[in-house]
Symmetry: C2
Subunit: 261 residues, 2 copies
Amino acid sequence: MSPRMISSDDRGLHYGDGLFETVTCVHGQPRWLARHLARLRLGCERLGIAMPDQALLQAKIAALADGQARCLVKLIVTRGVATARGYRPSGAEVPTLVVQLYPWPAPAAGRFTVDVSPVRLGENPLLAGLKHLNRLEQVLAQQQAGIAGVSETLMRASSGGVICGSMSNLFLCEATALITPGVEQCGVAGVMRSLVMDAARAVALPLHVAAVSPERLHAAPAAFVTNVRLGLQSVGTLERRELAVDPRVLKLQDWIHAHTA
Amino acid sequence: MSPRMISSDDRGLHYGDGLFETVTCVHGQPRWLARHLARLRLGCERLGIAMPDQALLQAKIAALADGQARCLVKLIVTRGVATARGYRPSGAEVPTLVVQLYPWPAPAAGRFTVDVSPVRLGENPLLAGLKHLNRLEQVLAQQQAGIAGVSETLMRASSGGVICGSMSNLFLCEATALITPGVEQCGVAGVMRSLVMDAARAVALPLHVAAVSPERLHAAPAAFVTNVRLGLQSVGTLERRELAVDPRVLKLQDWIHAHTA
């Protein structure tokens, strides 16, 4: 877990003023690093944090992943130690970089079960899409998911639409197209989500970004959730309704596998 | 500033999974501590974090404030160092307590100027009212306020209503009553806000919690913002419109002064 210490004056602690990425590494090599770093760069731009040097990030990831068959490396970039009290950044902060190694989690046994969380996502287009450090909504949703005993929990926006899982993006397998909700008001623009979108285009599977009401979700014959660790994970059970496995999932997986270094 | 170090595995850093209070101290004595601790306790209950021992908190505040004419003491309580990867708390975490001393800020010179921020507040009733560590919206709003050169910036909810300042609560001085927005969907239930509400009741000034549209805000003859450091701060200028100072402000200040140990 490579714990180290950070200053208790760090704005990452005080305000969640920063960003993170969880990079999957196989045989010591980070996967889809360019996409992770592109999202991190976008986040730094939106928050006005200096993007850490890319070569430095790559070197730190490589050093931790070296010799590991499979592992996760988490990057945290905060605005840095506060140089003055209060929310307003002074502009003189030096970003803090934390890079941590985690073992690859053991795969969960049994069906992949999903429910819809009672915890909603607040909407803010300035923060939507980013993997920032303000994650209390996900913490609360996962607390509830733990009580409910489900593998993942889907989250609705405060205005009603189903957006994503607490730690994944969502795709519905409708008869004529794959559907994934937009992440312009809340939710994270997942790296695996972007790969699925590229794969669908490449293999000519219709895929649309569209609003997903709870009714639309519950009418879907099949669905899958995505993140870089799970890949494409078919939903086995959605609130006690058993879902089919859609053949399009395998096609997308094959393309992504073939196009991953 | 009494910096100390915390583990980079702390969930306060990773997720903003925690709460804070900024306590004003005068002649070594914390003011309104019972109200601060009541809000902290409510936050701990909502997030499922063990409330730190009250006597311990009091002793730590007293130790820092000792000998200071005026100072701020900030308490941060996080869920603690992660015992497992991911959003879901294991329940085995031991809360982290950070207690820091800050000098009393120099009062700003000139008129107290206020604008309406382009940054909105996402809405989540499970987090609303709490002083939790997910504060990116306030950071973004204060960045904008810095560019605009205003003393404070008012924030609207994503659904439209004006809720509060980035670091204060808002009261409009309408002809027949004082009005303050509700904080059930977003915003913080401020300690000074609760004191103003008690004071208004005690001196029989009509005060209502009610929705404040931008139109209602801009029609108000006078307004003030509150926090424990500023007390009741009359708004001098609201987006270039000069506001009056309402005589009710002095009445409320007098009551609060008389009822503060």
